[in-house]
Amino acid sequence: MRKLLRYLRGYIRETILAPLFKMLEASFELIVPLVTAQIIDVGIRTRDTGFIWKMCLVMVALGVIGLVCSLTAQYFSAKAAMGFSTALRKDLFAHISSLSYRELDAVGTPTLITRMTSDVNQAQTGVNLVLRLFLRSPFIVIGALIMAFSIDVSVAMVFLAAVPLISLVIYFIMRWTVPIYKEVQKMLDGISRLTRENHVGARVVRAFGRQQEEIREFDQADSLFTRTQMSAGKISALLNPLTYVIMNLAIVAILWAGSRQVDAGQLTQGEVTALVNYMTQILLALLALANLIVAVTRAAASGVRLNEVFDMTASLKDEAQQEIKSSFAGSRVVFSNVDFSYTHSGAPALEGITFSAEKGEVVGIIGGTGSGKSTLVNLIPRFYDASSGQVEVDGYPADRYPLKQLREKVGVVPQRAVLFKGTIRDNLRWGKEDATEEEMYRALEAAQALEFVEKMEGKLDAPVAQGGRNLSGGQRQRLTIARALVRNPEILILDDSASALDYATDAALRRALREQSRQAGREMTVFLVSQRAASVKQADKILVLDDGRLVGAGTHRELLESCQIYKEICLSQLSEKEVAAT
């Protein structure tokens, strides 16, 4: 948490003033019991009505000043806390944008979303509470103690006994219950899991006739949860009664000890009242402090999680400054002896990959899950850096390009079709900020998306819900393909992006892409990753991957002769007649 405090830097004045004003307000509150004592001891005893009026004016004045101080403090702390969270959020967002795929893989984007939203809010609440209350409560406790001692040392001894006692009770109850509540939370997660499981798997549960068993399992988890919650509740239920008893017994003791002192002329009736009031103030302050500690602990936990994100550094460096201007006539993409592994210790995901892809070529990549197909294409736009060996694009090593320039050459269609809230037009503009309508329509046509977009109300301006939820899987995939095409890329990467399309659409798409790639002056190179033999069969070159190794490269016909694994894949998916037909 401490590291995050740098985001308060722009608000140093507010950060210092807020607690100070809070303390000022608290000190006025500490004076009130003394004023009441004066009214009793002086005003009533001497029947001095003027004095009573005066004291009441003092009280009102104290109230007004207290209010002003308090409002000032609240304003400063609100400003500082919001400033803090705004700066923190901005920095965090920028930091996340700077991370490379390797780090995104490690934490997962859902985690990052939680960090950006609820953890930042939690930290903000923490800062706000600390600024407002963290000094105030201890200040009241100590201030009330000092006041008590200044009134009468021997009676104040009661305070010295009661305050630690109350603190201990609060401390032990919290120490006892916090771990149980953590346990309770875990059990609740289990209950959520069972519910989710039985919703998603409703068909299977019923197919196997297991409803009763599932209910029994749930009831068991639920009743354990209830019992644990109850045992924590039993302890928590002690907090208020116990502190109430201690405080009030202390008041009894104050009255008793006070009566001796009054009898001896050491203390007045009003002062006894003041002592009783201080006791009440202390209890309230201690209870507030306990709540505050819970909130701050939570904020601190968020702080730790946020720091974990900040501690991640991008493993990929964007160091090249100079844009490369080349009209290279050779191969579009060349891999020479490329190795890659996701973790430093883990097994390599790619090993000794060497191949070249020419301009205007359609390159099919096939292999089982985990064979390294996606990994391979991810190295081209430098989502990852090769562990060893070299990836060249248009005659230059990929890391010699500024990232932006390199990635603008490439149109990527990821496995998961991610669309963004807005219109179809907005989404296509992701590919090219200043795309014309004509360019958009051309891209939609090639991506086999024109037909359904034209049917939609508003066409290009038809709304897209968050995540593209208002579209079918196949429609989403076609739009992501159009998005990549609209930027007129030199390299198009389709990472298993046609899996939701039926065979006919898939075939039409491939035909359109082939036309595009062969257009003169453009010579787009297409990388087509797929698990379907039928999808890659027609490619100019097919790369066959198995367990991270390139086990075959060539045309369908060549590979059928030379590559056993390719043949196996084809035969497992296609009939012999289909395999033979080209």
């Binding site: 944008s97 009898d263 899950t369 990527v412 991610v418 809230k421 992701w430 006919a504 198995d546």
Partner: protein
């Protein structure tokens, strides 16, 4: 509109009352305790005041009476604490048990709602009803209710005690307090609108973050970072501006009411002091009054908080009841028979079905399947192949016509026995969090380890299971995320293998399985189908070609049926579908 809402709210309340009925005794005790506690808490300041009255000055201390008062006070304190504790325990007990009841009932209901309901609902929605809403409902309702009750009791009690002490000061307090309430509600209404603006901005922020952080890979792929940062900065700044306002206004409620309370306190001091001077009251009684003046507004503030909490709780209750009241699956016919040892024949006789009345789907379908036959269902994505599965398993019931299994109309069979005679392997593999062995034995929990291993062997899963760290005891996390898609499929096959059902429903995976496993899955499917009537939603031509009959579906209907050769000869949709895979550029 408002009225109907109120009626609905009243309905919800009466249903809530039905749920807490079993606990009415405990609740009654709780309320009695609450009243006594409130009375005692209010009596303590009176005693303190009386105590102070015994210590007037040097030589004016009545130790005897003081001692008696202090003893009483100690007794009152002890009793208050004890009752408060017991009340807390009772509240906990009732609250948690009501939660357990309702949650259990909701989960039970989840198992009874028709599959159509499950299909239409979001998992997150049901989850939040069963987990979050139930929790909030009980917390809000019971805790809120006791707070409301004690709050009202405290207000009435305070007024009573004050009147008994001195009428005119009591009047002053009662008249001045609404000022504090007015201030609080004035601020609250202002704050509310600012909070609304803030929560709108916050929602904007969240959806932007979900989009750009969630889609970070795409952001980087399209070099969208700078454009994203611009959008982010704009919303972030807006959030800051409205956040400061919301935070500030929400935090001034406490100081402001404290200030008004201070004024009441001052008023009591003045008036009280004059009455004491006039001899109408003792100093101790003034102190009791000041004490009350301090406490009096607290229950008012609490009650206004409690009311929103209660409304929230009722809203949660409504969501739970809405779920609980979705009609369950139509129960089995009371005379339904248990399907035993079916021969494997399936007759689909003039069946019509649609999910929604306005969009007809299957119409007048007749198919006769002989024992042991293999039926392949093919067609483009979204053609309704799963509808067939839904009808055969009776996840949905036909609208017209009849399906007979082994000669029995399915409506005259218990659903359980019908379903257990079908082995089902779906494309969306579903595994439970648990060990591999538990998952394989899902349909037959008493299976021995030998039986489990044998089923795994037949499903070609034994090899990979053995290679795992804990073998058959390897723990599978929710959704089987720690094993590959192909392995999950093999486990699902083993799960069916163990049951040895006479009939099968299989949904072939379109992709996402690695080659080696793919071959194994196929072999496992073959083994499974051996001698069993099977319906296969097929994607592989090899499966289709060996089928005894192919049903070609399009737009929810069966448009062609026959063997591979027959259908090719027909030169219809199937032939086109088949040819599309040979598409030449």
């Amino acid at each position: 509109m408002k009225k109907s809402e109120r009626i609905r709210q009243r309905e919800t309340i009466s249903r809530v009352l039905a749920y807490i009925r079993p606990y009415r005794l405990k609740i009654a005790v709780m309320l009695v305790f609450a009243m006594i506690t409130v009375g005692l808490t209010l009596y303590a300041p009176v005693l303190i005041g009386q105590g102070v009255d015994q210590i007037v000055g040097p030589g004016q201390v009545d130790y005897g009476r003081l001692w008696k008062i202090l003893l009483t006070l100690a007794g009152v304190i002890g009793a208050t604490a004890l009752l408060q504790w017991m009340m807390n325990l009772l509240t906990n007990q009732v609250t948690y048990h009501v939660v357990e009841d309702i949650r259990g009932r909701a989960f039970n209901h989840l198992q009874q709602v028709p599959v159509s309901y499950v299909d239409q609902s979001q998992p997150g929605d049901i989850l939040s009803r069963i987990v979050t809403d139930v929790g909030q409902f009980s917390d809000g309702l019971l805790m809120g209710f006791t707070q409301l009750f004690t709050g009202i009791a405290a207000i009435l009690g305070t007024i009573g005690f004050m009147i008994s002490l001195n009428g005119s000061i009591a009047l002053l307090v009662v008249v001045l307090t609404p000022v504090s309430l007015f201030v609080a509600s004035f601020i609250a209404s202002r704050t509310f609108s600012m909070f609304q603006v803030q929560s709108e901005k916050r929602a904007d922020m969240t959806s932007l973050v979900e989009e750009l952080v969630g889609g970070q890979r795409v952001v980087q792929a399209f070099s969208y970072e700078e454009r994203g940062m611009e959008r982010f900065d704009r919303i972030n700044e807006e959030l800051r501006t409205c956040g400061i306002k919301a935070l500030f206004f929400s935090s001034i409620t406490n100081p402001s009411t404290r200030f008004v309370n201070g004024l009441v306190y001052t008023g009591v001091s003045i008036l009280g002091a004059f009455i004491v001077i006039g001899g109408g009251m003792s100093v101790g009684q003034l102190i009791s009054f000041l004490n009350y003046a301090n406490q009096y507004t607290k229950p008012f503030n609490e009650i206004s908080g409690v009311i929103t909490e209660l409304e929230n709780a009722l809203a949660c209750a409504k969501r739970i009841f809405d779920f609980l009241e979705t009609p369950p699956e139509e129960p089995d016919d009371p005379h339904a028979q248990v399907l035993e040892m079916p021969d494997g024949s399936v007759d689909i006789d003039k069946v019509s079905f649609s999910y929604r009345p306005d969009t007809p789907l299957l119409q007048d379908i007749t198919i006769q399947v002989k024992p042991g036959q293999r039926i392949a269902i093919v067609g483009p994505t979204g053609c309704g192949k799963t509808t067939m599965i839904n009808l055969l398993m009776r996840f949905y019931d036909v609208n017209a016509g009849e399906i007979r299994v082994s000669g029995y109309p399915v409506k005259q069979l218990t659903r359980d026995s019908l379903r257990r005679n079908f082995g089902m392997v779906l494309q969306e593999t579903w595994l439970k969090a648990g060990t591999i062995a538990q998952n394989i034995a899902y349909g037959k929990p008493d299976a021995s380890r030998e039986e489990i291993e044998q089923a795994a062997r037949q499903a070609h899963a034994h090899g990979f299971i053995q290679r795992m760290k804990d073998g058959y005891d390897t723990w599978i996390v929710e959704d089987g995320e720690n094993i590959s898609q192909g392995q999950k499929q093999l486990l699902c096959i083993a799960r069916v293998m163990l049951m040895r059902p006479p009939m099968l429903i299989l949904d072939e995976a379109t992709s996402s399985i690695d080659t080696r496993t793919e071959i194994r899955v196929q072999q496992a499917f073959e083994q499974l189908m051996e001698g069993r009537t099977s319906f296969v939603v097929a994607h592989r031509l090899s499966t289709i070609q060996t089928a005894d009959r192919i049903l070609v579906m399009k737009d929810g209907n069966i448009i062609e049926q026959g063997t591979h050769e027959e259908l090719l000869a027909e030169e219809g949709f199937y032939a086109k579908l088949y040819a599309s895979q040979f598409a030449q550029s």
